[in-house]
C-alpha cells in the first residue's frame, strides 16, 4: 500500500531537525525508515510532516570515548555488526546487530531508529538495558543524557520528546564482561518471539525482548542471582512481575516459559564465555 500524503523536509543539521520537528504537531523523524515506513504503508502511522534526518553529517559511525563506546544514532545495523571497536569493547552489540531481520534490513535500519521506536519486539533495546547504555538526545533546550533504564516507557513510547533527536548511544566499555544473546523465533528473518541479552560484569543484568509492552529487564532473575541463586533457579524468576503479551505467535504463558528457558541458556552461555 501507499502511505498517506505527507510533507517532506530534509534536515542538514541536528538543530534544523529539532526546529522542523517543532514546527508541526504530527511531525516525525525519518532515519532508515524500516520501522516507520512499514507502519505508514499500512496506514497505522500517518505523520503530516516527515523530517528526513538520514543525511545529517556526523551522526553515523562509532567513536572510542575512553570509558565508553559512542555509536552515532544513524549507524546502520550492518556497520555496527562489522565495526572493530564494537567487536572489541561491546561484542554483544555486534552479535545482536548481525541477527536483526535480514541483510537488506541491516543495510538500511539504524541503531538510533531501533532505540527511538521503542518496540518491545526489537533486539537492541534489550541489549542496551543489559549493557547499562545511555542515550544522548538534543531538543530545543539543548542536550540531555537518558539512561536506558529511564527510557522505555510503554508500547512504542519512550521518554524522548516529539521534537528531540537521538544523536548517540553511549555504551560503557565491557571488554572483559561475560555475555550472551538468545533469540527464539520460528522462521528465518522473523522478529524474536522472546529474546534475552545477558551481561555479567560483577553484577548480572538481563534485558528481555517481547516480555512486556516495552523493552524491560528481568529484575526477578537479576535479584535471585544477586542473592546467590543458581542459573536454573534464577531463570525461574525471569518473568516475575511482568505481563508478557499474547499474540498470534505465542500466548503469554508460552512467553513466560520461553523466557525461563532462554534466560537459563543465556546465563549458562555467559558463564562459559
Amino acid at each position: 500500500m501507499i502511505p498517506a500524503k505527507f510533507d517532506y523536509a530534509r534536515a542538514s543539521s541536528v538543530e534544523e531537525a529539532v526546529r522542523l520537528l517543532s514546527s508541526e504537531e504530527d511531525s516525525k523523524a525519518l532515519a532508515g525508515g524500516h520501522s516507520l515506513l512499514p507502519l505508514m504503508r499500512l496506514r497505522i502511522a500517518a505523520p503530516t510532516l516527515l523530517v528526513d534526518i538520514g543525511r545529517i553529517k556526523g551522526l553515523s559511525g562509532v567513536r572510542d570515548k575512553g570509558d565508553a563506546v559512542g555509536i552515532g544514532a544513524l549507524t546502520r545495523h550492518a556497520d555496527v555488526a562489522s565495526d572493530a571497536t564494537v567487536g572489541r569493547e561491546a561484542p554483544l552489540l555486534a552479535k545482536v546487530a548481525s541477527q536483526i531481520g535480514d541483510p537488506q534490513v541491516r543495510h538500511r535500519g539504524t541503531f538510533g531508529g531501533s532505540i527511538a521506536h521503542g518496540d518491545p519486539a526489537s533486539d537492541l533495546p534489550a541489549a542496551c538495558l543489559a549493557l547499562g547504555a545511555s542515550f544522548v538526545a538534543v531538543g530545543p533546550e539543548g542536550e540531555r543524557v537518558i539512561p536506558a533504564d529511564d527510557f522505555f516507557q510503554g508500547f512504542l513510547t519512550t521518554s524522548l520528546e516529539a521534537n528531540e533527536v537521538l544523536t548517540e548511544i553511549l555504551v560503557p566499555k565491557a571488554a572483559g564482561a561475560r555475555w550472551s544473546f538468545q533469540k527464539f523465533n520460528r522462521r528465518a528473518q522473523d522478529w524474536a518471539i522472546v529474546g534475552c541479552a545477558v551481561v555479567q560484569n560483577g553484577l548480572t543484568r538481563i534485558g528481555l525482548v517481547n516480555m512486556e509492552a516495552a523493552p524491560v529487564r528481568a529484575k526477578g532473575a537479576e535479584e535471585a542471582l544477586a542473592d546467590g541463586a543458581s542459573a536454573g533457579e534464577a531463570a525461574g524468576h525471569a518473568s516475575d512481575g511482568l505481563e508478557p503479551p499474547s499474540d498470534l505467535n505465542a500466548s503469554s504463558e508460552f512467553r513466560r516459559h520461553l523466557a525461563s528457558v532462554l534466560v537459563r541458556r543465556g546465563l549458562e552461555e555467559a558463564g562459559k564465555s
Binding site: D7, G33, L50, D52, A188
Partner: protein
C-alpha cells in the same frame, strides 16, 4: 519534489510526490518493471535492488531517500547482451520456476557475494533470509549462488 538519481548508470531527474516508494518509482516512472512487488510487509524481497551497491528492499525506501544515490535494478546487471555471471548461474542451475522472486533473489545474491565472496552453503542460506521463494524450495538457488561464487 525534484528527484535526481542514477538508475542503471543513467542520470535521471523527475518530479515526484514524497510518498512515492522507490519500487513504484522504478516500475511506474522509470518503466523498469523487472523489479517485482510481492508483499505489503517488507518481508518477501521481490523488490530488492542495489542502492550504492548494497541490496535494499525498494518497497521500504522512499524515492526521495534515493536522491543523489545510485540504483541498480535487474535490468542493469547484464552488459552488452551478456548475462551477469549470477544470472547465468541461475539459468544453468535451474534456480527458478515461476520466476517471480528471481530478480530480487539475483540482486540479493550479487550484493551478498560482494560482502562474502567465498561463502559456505549455510552462509548462503542465511544470506537469503530476506528473500522468499514459493516454488523452488531454495535448493537450486543456493546451488546457483555457490556456483557463481566459484566462477
Amino acid at each position: 519534489m525534484e528527484l535526481s538519481l542514477t538508475v542503471n548508470g543513467k542520470a535521471r531527474t523527475d518530479d515526484v510526490e514524497p510518498r512515492l516508494l522507490l519500487v513504484h518509482y522504478l516500475r511506474d516512472v522509470a518503466r523498469l518493471t523487472g523489479t517485482n512487488i510481492g508483499c505489503d510487509t517488507s518481508s518477501c524481497g521481490a523488490c530488492t535492488v542495489h542502492m550504492d551497491g548494497e541490496a535494499v528492499k525498494s518497497c521500504t525506501v522512499l524515492a526521495v531517500q534515493a536522491d543523489g544515490h545510485e540504483i541498480t535494478t535487474i535490468e542493469g546487471l547484464a552488459s552488452d547482451g551478456t548475462m551477469h555471471p549470477m544470472q547465468e548461474a541461475f539459468r544453468q542451475n535451474h534456480a527458478l520456476q515461476c520466476g517471480y522472486c528471481t530478480p530480487g533473489m539475483v540482486m540479493a545474491a550479487t550484493s551478498f557475494l560482494k560482502e562474502n565472496p567465498h561463502p559456505t552453503e549455510a552462509e548462503v542460506r542465511e544470506g537469503l533470509e530476506g528473500n522468499l521463494c514459493r516454488c523452488t524450495g531454495y535448493h537450486n538457488i543456493v546451488k546457483a549462488i555457490l556456483a557463481a561464487a566459484q566462477s
